[in-house]
């Protein structure tokens, strides 16, 4: 593992986006993960998505738990604040941060151990509260950082590198998220950037709890024959149910598709999610249909990927709590403190 700063000089030909930044401006420290680790591809997809959407990097808060996956926020968006919290507890920290300032973009990065094992309670509750966030689980079916133990998403019957067979039922976070009321649910594959980048972009434009499960092979501990989270296995069993284009509100919708094969979903901010349907008759705005699709694929040993469900009219936690538009961290004593005169009246009522 090498650790050194990248040269800051930008190639003049690097294109700038609408906020005047190059793709390089969205990068972070040099990754210390294993060469070929799926997580690094996800970081690249996050960088691409943020650059393409003209996200201001410093207006993003990156939060994670503990694990190889949770280390990655250091490797993108260097000008954003990051928080490597405690194992499995990113969702609560993100929820609190989100309450303090509703204006930032909250990006939670977690692992399958982090979110499906130790932190499943926080995963569940942050989703059902509708925290406005992009929640990405980099799912490799193992604990990478502690060297290859099974996580709760490992498929029943899959073998570890040491030859141990997993006898426990897997937890499918996508199915769980659907049941919990997540308003944007997608699955991607770290090896398919073309599909993944738009899924992340759609999540960024979404208001509410947006969850993306990204299958992300661990080359060190879970990329062998017998693993169901290896590059080989996922390439062979991946069925993309749709292809997503995200059209920001200010762009014109110009891409043409054959009639009948496209679903368009307008999000609260005016952006449009345009889905090219690959699976016949599948409606991504129908939660029950999404669950059925996921279960049907599961039973065939296949992985359904794409945007599985979206509810563009969803409400988020701030709406549920009816909080002011002004971020809490900008409110001062003038509006927060009732003052001495009010206290005088309170005292009078207590005699």
């Amino acid at each position: 593992m090498t650790y050194h700063a990248k040269p800051k000089l930008h190639h003049p030909s690097l294109a700038r986006n609408a906020v005047g930044l190059t793709r390089r401006d969205y990068e972070g420290k040099v990754s210390t993960l294993c060469a070929g680790c799926g997580h690094d591809s996800i970081s690249a997809a996050i960088i691409q998505a943020c650059w393409e959407l003209d996200v201001k990097p410093h207006r993003v808060a990156k939060l994670s738990g503990i694990g190889c996956s949770s280390k990655t926020p250091d490797y993108f968006l260097r000008n954003a604040h990051g928080f490597n919290a405690v194992h499995g507890r990113m969702p609560s920290v993100l929820t609190g941060a989100n309450l303090a300032n509703r204006e930032l973009l909250y990006l939670g990065v977690s692992g399958d151990g982090d979110s499906a094992s130790i932190g499943i309670g926080q995963f569940v509750h942050s989703i059902r509260r509708g925290v406005n966030m992009v929640y990405i689980v980099e799912n490799n079916g193992v604990y990478g950082l502690t060297k290859g133990q099974f996580s709760a998403t490992a498929d029943q019957g899959s073998t570890s590198k040491r030859g141990v067979v997993n006898a426990d039922q897997p937890i499918d976070l996508v199915g769980l998220a659907l049941q919990l009321g997540a308003s944007y649910v997608a699955r991607g594959f770290s090896g398919d950037k073309q599909q993944l980048v738009p899924l992340i972009k759609g999540a960024i434009h979404h208001r509410g709890a947006a969850f993306i499960d990204v299958i992300s092979p661990c080359v060190a501990f879970n990329n062998h024959a017998g693993s169901t989270k290896s590059y080989e296995y996922v390439r062979q069993h991946n069925e993309a149910v749709n292809r997503l284009d995200v059209i920001p509100c200010r762009s014109e919708i110009s891409v043409e598709y054959p009639e009948g094969s496209v679903v368009e979903v307008e999000q609260h901010d005016g952006s449009v999610l345009r889905l090219r349907k690959l699976a016949a008759g599948y409606d991504p705005t129908d939660r029950a249909a999404a669950l059925n699709l996921v279960l049907a694929h599961d039973s065939r040993g296949e992985v359904a990927t794409g945007l599985l469900f979206v509810d563009s009219a969803a409400h988020d936690l701030h709406q549920h709590l009816n909080t002011t538009e002004v971020p809490f961290n900008r409110l001062d004593a003038a509006v927060l403190c009732p003052g001495a005169a009010a206290l005088q009246r309170i005292n009078e009522g207590l005699r």
Binding site: S92, F328, L331
Partner: protein, 626 residues
């Protein structure tokens, strides 16, 4: 109808002289949980207060919701003693289930007041107490047809009878009703009527009782409220906008009171939107996680919990300490573990909080003595957490938190500004001010931080535990670690001067004996000191109000031969903290420990100190000189 004496022995047969006292006695109510007695009992206590006589009531309740015994004890003390006294002078027995145990507590010569509607065998009474039976159920059944009314007005009827027996002016109670039922004339009338039913009955019967309430002027401008409500109000005044909590007795009413006050004071009058967020989390780990996230992002946040919750929070507390994130935790202490004594009081989380978490950690603790300090210290805790960028604990307990206590009126200075600590602004960053997140620029151990989203190019940093250098870059190098944790120690030293300082009460004459105490021990201690002084035992007393201990605490201990440390836990936890943190000789510090779950009493302290004290009371100065 039964006469009051139908089922009790003749008063003339009493072998002990009946108690007689004016404005100095203890009344205990034995009730059934869920019978509506709580508000009537509070009415009783408040009516005595309104007559200018200090009272201190205490709820004694097991961990049940309905149908089981609950008690309410009111100490009436013109002298103003607010600690629990111990013993009962008048028992109001409304719960046959606990008849025997309650009767045993009555002081010889004391009184029993009970519902005589159903006959109770003669053998169930004591012959050394006065007995007043009132057919309360019978009167209610005769007067009311509605079963709910029959139940509720029982309570008001006994308050009326007690008023007659003790000399409480009914007009005072009527005024309290008027305040309570403003605009609800029907309810008001019904309550006044019930009150007089009881009052007139007792007047006609001439119920004999030697205890009297007499108008005095000893309450002044003091107020009467619960510590939990006061702490919640302190959080409102102190600018907390995020409250994340998980229900646990005895702390739940903090969050509930915060909600109540926020609904009143924190709704934007124009948009009708809330300037607060309260999340009932899925557990205490999530509660503290949310507080950490909000604190990291620049909002003032707190959680309220009790011992079991603190245990769950400890991993996060350690992270917040090392990552230097403001966090305010209100710990309303109770007895024991999760199946311990949730409805009993103790000061038994002192060490668990002072050293919460793994690694080398220590935390700021504040020890309020009453609701007024709960209010003040809650706001102080929010300031200190921001100033020191660290977790701060407000260490209250059930005794302060869940009982109404007479205390100084709450005070707020409108010129007071929140101390948001060292936060670098966009302007400063733009001007090129050096920003290194964990660098000690000012020599006080406190670095600068930035809120997320402040500046496009500068001030961003990656928050993690300790694997970092002073610029927040990943580092596992020894010297970087040492620089960091040494700076944290320096910061803790800085805290000594910022926390509420101890208060010293010197004895009238010079003495070599001292006493240290803190928190809810205060009222009993103050009373004990006077009592001890009256019997010739002179004590210098220091009330500790925070940890880390300032230098004055060490000086106090060193300038006395013998220092009692009075606490409400088994293991002398604060004493351990003193020995450990100030390198004091343990032999100088004599533990006085009360830990059965009931609030400590002056009687207990006086006896315990009396037993332990060595040497003469006073060391006259001239003898020393010789």
């Amino acid at each position: 109808m039964n006469s009051p004496r139908d089922f009790g022995p003749e008063p003339s047969a009493r072998p002990v002289a009946p108690l007689a006292a004016v404005n100095d006695f203890v009344v205990k109510f034995a009730n059934v949980n869920g019978s509506g007695s709580a508000s009537a009992n509070e009415l009783f206590a408040k009516s005595i207060l309104r007559m200018g006589v200090p009272v201190s009531p205490r709820n004694i309740f097991p961990s049940n919701i309905q149908g089981l015994p609950t008690w309410y004890e009111v100490r009436v003390s013109e002298q103003g003693w607010l600690g629990r006294r111990g013993g009962v002078d008048l028992l109001v027995q409304m719960n046959p289930q606990t008849w025997e145990q309650d009767l045993a507590e009555i002081e010889p010569g004391g009184y029993l007041f009970y519902d005589s509607s159903r006959p109770i065998p003669l053998s169930s009474f004591r012959d050394d107490i006065g007995i007043i039976g009132m057919p309360i159920t019978e009167i209610c059944n005769r007067t009311y047809s509605d079963s709910r009314q029959r139940q509720l007005f029982k309570n008001i009827i006994y308050v009326g009878a007690l008023a007659a027996m003790l000399g409480i002016e009914p007009a005072v109670i009527e005024k309290l009703f008027g305040e309570q039922y403003r605009g609800k004339e029907k309810l008001l009338d019904a309550n006044v009527k019930a009150l007089h039913l009881g009052y007139d009955w007792a007047k006609n019967q001439g119920a004999p009782c030697g205890l009297r309430v007499q108008r005095a002027d000893r309450v002044g401008d003091r107020i009467f409220l619960e510590g939990n409500a006061a702490a919640a109000l302190g959080c409102v005044y102190g600018g907390a906008t995020v409250c994340a909590w998980y229900p646990i007795t005895p702390s739940s009413s903090v969050a509930e009171a915060f909600q109540k006050y926020c609904q009143k004071y924190r709704v934007d009058p124009d948009s009708k939107k809330n300037r607060y967020a309260i999340v009932q989390a899925e557990d205490e780990i999530a509660s503290i996680g949310m507080v950490v996230g909000a604190g990291w992002n620049g909002a003032r946040a707190f959680t309220a919990t009790s011992g079991p919750g603190v245990s769950l929070m400890t991993e996060f507390i350690g992270l917040a300490y090392f990552a230097e994130i403001p966090v305010t935790i209100i710990d309303v202490q109770r007895g024991g573990p999760s199946t311990g004594m949730p409805t009993r009081t103790q000061q038994a989380d002192v060490l668990a909080c002072a050293y919460a978490s793994h690694g080398d950690t220590k935390h700021v603790l504040l020890f309020p003595e009453d609701p007024a300090e709960c209010f003040e210290f809650a706001a102080t805790a929010l300031d200190l957490a921001d100033r020191l960028q660290t977790p701060v604990f407000l260490m209250t307990d059930l005794d302060i938190g869940m009982n109404q206590r007479l205390c100084a009126p709450l005070a707020w200075d409108d010129s007071r500004r929140y101390d948001r600590g060292k936060v670098m602004t966009a302007l400063e960053l733009e001007a090129g001010t050096d920003f290194r997140r964990y660098h000690d620029v000012d020599g006080d151990g406190i670095p600068y931080r930035t809120y997320p989203g402040t500046h496009p190019k500068r001030g961003g940093f990656f928050t993690r535990g300790t694997t970092r250098d002073s610029g927040a870059n990943y580092s596992e190098k020894g010297p970087d670690y040492i620089y960091n944790v040494q700076r944290l120690l320096k910061k803790f030293d800085t805290a000594r001067g910022l926390v509420p300082q101890p208060l010293l009460r010197e004895s009238a004459e010079k003495t070599r004996t001292g006493v240290l105490y803190y928190g809810s021990t205060s009222p009993a201690m103050v009373e004990a000191i006077e009592e001890l002084e009256a019997s010739g035992t002179l004590l210098d007393a220091m009330r500790l109000r925070a940890f880390p201990f300032p230098e004055s605490v060490r000086q106090f201990v060193l300038s006395h031969d013998q220092v009692f440390v009075v606490e409400q836990n088994r293991d002398a936890q604060l004493r351990s903290l003193l020995v450990n943190e100030l390198s004091l000789d343990p032999a100088r510090l004599i533990p006085i420990l009360h830990y059965d779950g009931t609030p400590i009493t002056a009687r207990f302290i006086v006896d315990a100190i009396g037993e332990q004290r060595r040497g003469p009371n006073v060391v006259p100065l001239k003898e020393h000189a010789a």
